[in-house]
């Protein structure tokens, strides 16, 4: 099904993203629908965001402490950050804004930090390609041929809160630093979730996310620069509940009219992930050049998942688990005021999900599957790739201690997966392959003064879409999106409207002393 401006897709594994602003590469995203995600979790400061967030061989002096707490040891001094960030999805499809405050401090060999963030996320809406508005359905008294009695959507935005804390110690004699951090998120709004329960009247989200990580940084100073080894162990726990209010159309034999009947589906989204990452950087013989490698492993379990609905395709999220890996190589050059970096990452992922019979189910050949027996098994194999390339150049303003910096970058994310599905009820097997690319140009501008750094960084992600308005009657099933981990079975095509997600971040950084 191809429409102008629409992208027909198949839902396979919905998607996996992590409700952690410090995720970067330690938590490997799994995405099975080319659905646009808001930059909700990009709230912490970064010096490389405008350079496509290259990170393997190019340290991010501001952003790294939020990823690997041990790297805070590199900070020359204590700093205060404020990073107002806004993002928007094109075609009036959603957006949000965040105001984080962060403090990173060093005292002798100890270092630590904290951050607090308040965030407001707008309700996600179907893309309004033709300039139309969103019509909220008000309650209406019964008696009409179609009696609308279930309250309509609310346009009210919802807020999230983030708290980050970190502490670490540097063993100077060994050039070894260790640190630990915790990020706790109170979640009431996940961008895009509204659109994944098509036909719903309202969604109440509640939940939290916890990200614990322990990191180490070992450096070996050398003439051309230090070799660096980083190790991170991360545990991410995501738990949200969606109370989804639907208005089902039913026939009322009493009044002999169609009426709406309220139905609240409670969907649980639970994911636990353990991950580990090793990263190694060395300087090359040519002055300024460095090369780095990284290797990451994630194991995620998702005992519960919401049943989302997009279009007429149902994707009940089934229990399952995933193993995700990435192997990356990066090279960078820092020579004077110029910086260049490129990362290439390959992400093989294996996911296995299943659905269990909740009651005896008759199979096509007449057998009966007892409760608890698998009715459906899905095996997903991903071969994703990520390319990041970025350049930056600082320009000293002559005669002052001030500088202007310019940054440009490009991220290419290729997602490719294969699904093999076994249906133990219909006694069928089928396979499906799908791939697409999302690309993200980035840019940045910085003003550095002795007493203050001001950075503006932006990015726009293209190549993904969002569910658009559909005018089906009833009988649709919900399909799901998750912000924890969503691995679900594909069962049909779905149309998304291409949208762009644009993020703007202004970062203020002040040395405390």
């Amino acid at each position: 099904m191809q429409f102008s401006g629409l992208r027909a897709v198949c839902i396979a594994v919905p998607l996996l993203s992590f409700a952690s602003p410090a995720a970067r590469a330690q938590l490997i995203p799994i995405k099975t629908i080319p659905i646009a995600q808001g930059s909700q979790f990009e709230i912490f400061p970064s010096s490389n965001l405008g350079m496509a967030d290259v990170s393997i061989a190019l340290p991010d002096s501001i952003g790294d402490p939020f990823v690997n707490p041990a790297t805070t040891a590199r900070l020359p001094g204590s700093r205060f950050f404020a990073t107002p960030t806004v993002y928007s999805v094109s075609d009036n499809a959603g957006g949000g804004r965040s105001l984080p405050f962060a403090l990173l401090a060093r005292r002798s060999d100890w270092f630590g930090g904290f951050a607090l963030t308040l965030q407001q996320v707008e309700p996600s809406r179907p893309p309004q390609q033709f300039g139309g508005g969103v019509v909220d359905l008000p309650p209406r008294p019964g008696g009409d041929p179609l009696s609308v009695v279930v309250p309509g959507n609310t346009a009210r935005a919802h807020g999230n809160g983030y708290a980050f804390g970190m502490v670490g110690h540097r063993f100077s004699a060994k050039n070894l630093s260790v640190g630990a951090s915790v990020t706790w998120t109170a979640l009431h709004a996940l961008d895009g979730v509204d659109l994944l329960y098509e036909g719903s009247r309202s969604i109440t989200q509640r939940g939290n996310a916890l990200d614990l990580r322990v990191g180490a940084l070992k450096e070996w100073p050398g003439e051309r620069g230090a070799r660096a080894f980083e190790a991170i162990v991360v545990h991410n726990q995501f738990s949200t509940t969606h109370d989804v209010l639907f208005a089902d159309l039913v026939w009322d034999p009493n009044r002999q009219i169609f009426v709406e009947e309220a139905r609240v589906d409670t969907n649980y989204d639970r994911t636990k992930t353990w991950g580990a990452q090793l990263q190694y950087q060395i300087p090359l013989a040519t002055p300024g050049w460095r090369i780095g490698w990284l290797a990451t492993v994630n194991r995620s379990t998702h005992p519960n998942g919401p049943s989302y609905q997009i279009g007429n395709s149902g994707v009940p999220q089934d229990p399952g688990h995933s193993y995700a890996y990435n192997l990356g190589i990066g090279v960078s050059k820092v020579l004077g005021p110029a910086r260049f970096g490129v990362d290439a990452i390959f992400e093989p992922i294996r996911s296995y999900t299943w659905a269990n019979a909740t009651a005896p189910v008759a199979t096509l050949n007449g057998d009966t599957l007892p409760p608890g027996a698998p009715t459906l098994e899905n095996r997903f194999s991903f071969a994703n790739a990520l390319m990041r390339v970025g350049v930056g150049r600082d320009i000293d303003l002559q005669g002052t201690n001030n500088a202007i910096g310019l940054q440009l970058g490009l991220v290419l994310r290729s997602i490719s997966y294969k699904l093999e599905q076994t249906d133990h009820v219909q006694l069928t097997e089928r396979a499906f392959q799908r791939s697409w690319i999302e690309w993200t140009p980035t840019w940045g501008l910085s003003l550095r003064f002795p007493e203050l750094d001001i950075r503006y960084q932006g990015r726009v992600t293209k190549g993904a879409g969002r569910p658009s308005n559909n005018f089906f009657f009833v009988g649709q099933r919900d399909i799901a999106l998750s912000s924890g981990m969503l691995v679900a079975a594909p069962n049909g095509p779905l149309s998304l409207t291409d949208v762009n997600t644009t993020t703007h971040q202004i970062s203020l950084s002040l040395p405390l002393r």
Binding site: M1, A8, V9, C10, A12, D248, L249, V250, W251, D252, P253, N254, F258, V259, E261, L284, T286, W289, I291, N312, S313, G314, I329, V331, V342, A344, F346, A357, T358, V361, A362, L364, A385, M387, L412, R413, S414, S416, L419, D423, V425, Q426, R430, F432, Q433, R434, S435, W436, I437, G463, F472, F473, V474, G475, Q476, R477, P490, N491, G492, P493
Partner: protein
């Protein structure tokens, strides 16, 4: 430096090339049965049925008594429940009903001397309260009639009836074949049948006479006063009896929790795989839903489905039955009959307006090639008492085919497996609670007459 940069650039190129390999989907995943079925269902306005509100118990008790009391019939030998027998899912199991004067019950019921079959099949009353727009096979009673809602061209019904069910309850007692009897009849006690003495045009007098009978029967005055405590005894008419019968139908005869209904309420496991395949056909290739659509899966249209002509016939066209085409200003609908709602259809054999097809399998086979089915209809499949009333003349068959609904003129060409799937879907329309309705039969009725 060169040592590292070259392989890195090469790796980058490889990754980029791999990433750029396919930007558009490599293929669409085949839709599952559920996706196909739900999409197809969504195109036809089929929605779940909400619960029927409980009716006033006193009203229901009165309606139950009236439904099964033969005192309403001229000869005191037949009740509503005779042809709408709960043990037969509120039908009689016969192609054409046997009205007053008959003996026996259910499929064993036989015509009395000098009597003839009621010309059209007795439809099940299960879900009769679901909200039918048209009542009777020709839809002559409906909510959109030219005479106004709930009115008939030849009978003046009370103007303030609350629903079509109450209006319908006025009519069988007027019908000589069904309940009223013929002039000269005597009732089961040998007394003259006073209801049969009225002319066919004296509907109001007949209803008054039935009401007099009821109030002369010990027990009924109390039941009426309990059901209508706000009415003075002197003002009771047959209207109150009809309202009570309708209340009983609304309260006791709704069965809408079939596997298909549960599927509509989002239980994917409610239907078997065969039923889902059949459902995809029903709402798709087999085109059943072009007529059987909406929340009731039918009941809103009329169609000439090429059913063999059978029975004594109706009106001026007798011994043929033109169906809705026999009504004034409806000549377009030659041989067309109401498309029935299909919930619990498995339980209401035989099928069509004259019961000419005994099983769902035979119905589906008929629809697979209507013209051929009609031309090759074998009257030996009918009960012996009806075989002689089959009108298989070539001219009759040609006339029926000439007016065949346009949706049925081309064979469907369904395979036998597809036909089995369709039957499986139709059987999934059965509410398990409709399989045994014997619980709604009262132990006794105020008249003391036998119930069966």
């Amino acid at each position: 430096m060169t040592v590292w940069v070259r392989p890195l650039c090469l790796a980058a190129l490889v990754v980029t090339a791999a990433a750029c390999d396919e930007q558009t989907p490599t293929g669409e995943l085949p839709e599952t049965l559920d996706v196909q079925l739900r999409r197809n269902i969504g195109q036809y306005g089929v929605v779940p049925i909400a619960a029927m509100a409980r009716q006033d118990p006193a009203l229901v008790t009165l309606g139950q008594a009236l439904m099964f009391d033969k005192v309403l019939s001229g000869n005191r030998d037949i009740s509503c429940g005779t042809c709408h027998d709960p043990t037969l899912h509120l039908t009689d199991g016969l192609p054409l009903p046997v009205g007053t004067g008959g003996t026996g019950s259910g499929a064993a019921r036989t015509l009395g001397p000098g009597r003839s079959f009621v010309p059209r099949n007795a439809p099940s009353l299960v879900n009769s309260a679901i909200g039918l727009f048209y009542v009777f096979w020709d839809g002559r009673l409906n909510q959109f009639g030219p005479q106004g809602p709930l009115q008939l061209p030849d009978v003046v019904l009370p103007f303030d009836l609350p629903n079509v069910l109450a209006a319908q309850a006025f009519l069988p007692i007027l019908n000589r074949r069904e309940m009223r009897g013929e002039p000269g009849d005597v009732d089961v006690f040998g007394n003259p049948n006073e209801l049969a003495q009225f002319a066919d045009t004296q509907a109001a007098e007949i209803w008054q006479a039935v009401t007099r009978r009821l109030f002369a029967t010990p027990g009924y005055p109390e039941l009426f006063r309990a059901a209508f405590p706000y009415l003075p005894s002197s003002s009771f008419t047959f209207r109150e009896a009809a309202i009570a019968i309708a209340a009983f139908q609304m309260d006791a005869l709704m069965r809408t929790n079939s596997p298909f209904d549960r599927y509509l309420r989002r239980d994917d496991n409610a239907l078997s795989v065969e039923a889902k395949r059949g459902g995809v056909l029903f709402f798709g290739e087999a085109r059943c839903s072009s007529c059987h659509n909406g929340p009731l899966l039918g009941g809103q249209q009329f169609a000439n489905t090429g059913v063999p002509q059978l029975g004594p016939g109706v009106g001026a066209a007798a011994p043929l039955d033109l169906g809705r085409g026999g009504l004034v200003n409806n000549e377009f609908y030659q041989f067309a009959f109401r498309v029935p709602p299909l919930r619990n259809v498995e339980l209401t054999a035989p099928y069509f307006h004259n019961g000419s097809f005994p099983t769902l399998e035979s119905v589906v086979a008929h629809y697979n090639d209507v013209s051929r089915s009609l031309r090759s209809f074998d009257p030996a499949t009918l009960p012996a008492a009806l075989r002689d009333s089959y009108h298989g003349e070539q001219a009759t068959i040609d006339s029926v085919i000439q007016h065949l609904d346009s949706r049925l003129r081309e064979p469907l060409r369904l395979t036998e497996a597809q036909q089995r799937d369709l039957v499986a879907f139709l059987k999934a329309l059965t509410d398990p609670a409709a399989r045994d309705l014997s619980g709604i039969i009262p132990a006794s009725v105020p008249s003391g007459l036998s119930i069966r």
